[in-house]
């Protein structure tokens, strides 16, 4: 893989009137890489995709493919195929005509088009539908035709604009894997826009999280999940429990002062640039461990809070508790249920406790808390 310079974005900015939709986007994408652009609505992810496709011109910056500047090329000269969220199939053309249109433009012979269309149909499971019009197809079939139309021209770069969001939840799960397997097999570079965290995690080699038109973090799914760079990313990736603590770095550790509901503790700094003072602590409900207060919790590094169970529910697989810690409330999972009113200890292991200096806490509050742990915005 040529790590540098297959598809490069340098200092991309885009404005709509006085409104800055994108700014300072620097991204380098390798050939064959599957990159997910993840963010809530209005974060600029679709704008970025349309900018790549050539429907929008950036107000600053450059887009380069193989070191060639394509920033101001018209959409039809870019060799990037976009799968639209609405699929945008041409209603007056049959399935075969839709898929074959790009080849017809390239001047491929009629026989060549027919064989390529047939190959696309068998690849995507669309056999026998070649004479249907889009109106006579199901949602899943339309999505496949849209994908087939994009893949038929053998694009170097495949752009996907939430192509799964109009599918039934059950089909969506299988299509995710099919799409990913197909992309790997064909070796296409893919850029996938989505607001679904799980979809991005499952499909992508690399996730680029956008917030307010800027890249909040870019990294492998494992990196953004376990080492969020900011409170926003932590919250977006499901660490919705938030508490404020005080502490200071001491050697290689960050020492946390005892608070009204917590015992003192310390966690390894692990290269995090934390400074002394108030910090925002975030963790996922499933990362916390719950004990009866009377039980002695002797476990590894981390921090233990004490509180009272306020509510308990069973979302499936584990029991989810709402635990009141003084003024704050957090959610914590456990293998068995604790009755409301029980005094409990909540232990968060050091590796699952995300700490950020408090000033960066502001944007995190924009993420709403969803009971399933997924964030849809």
């Amino acid at each position: 893989m040529e790590r540098d310079g297959f598809l490069e974005l340098r200092g991309i900015a885009s404005r709509y009137g006085s409104n800055e939709v994108l700014s300072d986007i620097d991204l380098s994408i390798a050939k064959g890489e599957f990159v997910a652009l993840l963010g809530s609505s209005g974060c600029g992810k679709t704008t970025l995709l349309r900018l790549l496709a050539g429907f929008i011109s950036p107000s600053a910056g450059q887009v380069k493919v193989r070191h060639r500047d394509v920033t101001h090329l018209p959409p039809d000269k870019r060799g990037m195929a976009l799968v639209f969220q609405s699929y945008a199939l041409w209603p007056h053309m049959t399935v075969a005509q839709n898929i074959g249109y790009g080849l017809k433009l390239k001047g491929v012979s009629r026989a060549g088009i027919a064989s390529r269309v047939a190959a696309m149909q068998s690849l995507l499971g669309l056999e026998g539908l070649e004479l249907r019009k889009p109106a006579a197809l199901s949602g899943g079939q339309r999505q496949r035709v849209a994908l087939g139309r994009a893949l038929a021209i053998d694009p170097e770069i495949l752009l996907l604009d939430e192509p799964l969001s109009n599918l039934d939840a059950r089909i969506r799960l299988t299509v995710r894997h099919e799409l990913r397997a197909l992309q790997k097999r064909l070796g296409i570079t893919a850029i996938h826009v989505t607001h679904d965290r799980e979809e991005a995690m499952v499909m992508a080699d690399r996730i680029v999280i956008l917030n307010g038109g800027k890249i909040a973090q870019a990294g492998t799914p494992e990196e953004v999940y376990n080492r969020p760079a900011s409170a926003f990313v932590a919250a977006f990736m499901g660490a919705e429990n938030v508490l404020s603590l005080n502490g200071a770095p001491e050697g290689g550790e960050f020492a946390i002062e005892a608070g009204p509901a917590s015992a003192a503790g310390s966690v390894p700094l692990a290269g995090r640039p934390l400074t002394a003072g108030p910090v925002e602590a975030r963790f996922r409900p499933e990362a916390a461990r719950l004990f009866a207060e009377s039980e002695v919790a002797v476990i590894g590094p981390g921090i233990t809070f004490k509180g009272e169970v306020a509510a308990v529910s069973y979302p499936g697989g584990h029991w989810r508790h709402v635990v009141r810690l003084g003024q704050a409330e957090v959610m914590a999972d456990a293998g068995h249920a604790f009755e409301p009113g029980t005094r409990v200890a909540v232990h968060v292991p050091a590796e699952s406790l995300f700490l950020f200096n408090s000033p960066s806490a502001a944007p995190a509050s924009t993420v709403s808390r969803a009971p399933t742990g997924r964030v849809y915005a």
Partner: protein
């Protein structure tokens, strides 16, 4: 049934409700179909005068007279069709680019531009066409087919542009973007995607323009006559001269395309296009 019986038992007059309804529908049918039927009778009447309510003799003698070389009907019919077709061609040639621009581009004063096409209809036709005739006379367009076509275009353009604009705005921009994305240039996209999708709407606008042109009297009279005679003119002359057979046959000739085209329009003009007319 039971409802009406119950209503009748409450109010004896309600049982007679069908009387005013029957009268209203009967009158409506009479006013719509009466004149049409009368016209049809006249086209095949050989002899029909005052005290008799039906023709005394039937026959196709008047048809022969109308279509005789000296009857003028063939010439008028040809003129009318040629002018109507040319009007459609010129109007669409102007309305397609104009409608596309009005639908797709963010034009300032877009509403005002759309309204401007109404201006030829906003003033009394007579005043306008008398002056048009005078100007056309000076530049040698009076009494020529192009002159009449120009007058009809100015009249029909409002339908053509408004409906074309609506037809183009009804097409999702993403359908065009999908074609651009897959490698089609702007013109190719327009020909392969936009135009076929707008075709039903454009077809409907063509039909409206065609019918408008076929019917148009004032402009045809002032600009065309006496060198270019049109069908409505023939109808007028025959009607004014008391020759009801010829007037009726001419009227029938005018009516047939209207009815045919209304049926086609009804098929082609879909609600999503109609709802965008004038927006």
């Amino acid at each position: 049934m039971t409802a009406s019986v119950m209503a009748a038992s409450r109010n004896p007059l309600a049982a007679l409700w069908w009387v005013p309804r029957g009268v209203v529908f009967g009158l409506m049918a009479f006013f719509i179909f009466g004149p049409l039927f009368n016209m049809l009778l006249w086209t095949v009447a050989e002899k029909w005068y005052f005290p008799y309510s039906l023709p005394l003799e039937y026959g196709f003698g008047s048809w022969a007279k109308v279509f005789a070389p000296r009857g003028g009907a063939v010439e008028s019919l040809t003129n009318s069709l040629v002018v109507a077709l040319l009007t459609v061609v010129v109007s669409l040639a102007l309305a397609i680019p104009a409608g596309y621009a009005l639908a797709r581009l963010k034009l300032p004063l877009r509403g005002l531009i759309l309204l401007a096409f109404l201006i030829p209809q906003a003033f009394p036709n007579l005043t306008v066409y008398v002056n048009v005739a005078r100007i056309f006379y000076e530049i040698g367009l009076n009494g020529t087919i192009p002159g009449v076509v120009l007058v009809h275009v100015s009249h029909g353009l409002v339908y053509a542009v408004w409906i074309a604009t609506a037809a183009f705005s009804a097409i999702d921009v993403e359908l065009e973007q999908a074609a651009r994305n897959i490698g089609a240039g702007a013109m190719r996209t327009f020909l392969d995607v936009t135009l076929p999708l707008a075709a039903p709407g454009l077809m409907a606008s063509a039909i409206f323009v065609f019918l408008e042109s076929l019917d148009e009297f004032t402009g045809s009279y002032f600009v065309g006559a006496p060198d270019v005679n049109m069908l409505p003119l023939l109808l007028y002359t025959a009607g004014a001269g008391g020759n009801y057979q010829i007037a009726s046959i001419t009227a029938l000739l005018l009516l047939v395309p209207s009815i045919l085209f209304m049926l086609i329009v009804e098929r082609f003009l879909k609600a999503d296009v109609l709802s965008r007319v004038g927006h």
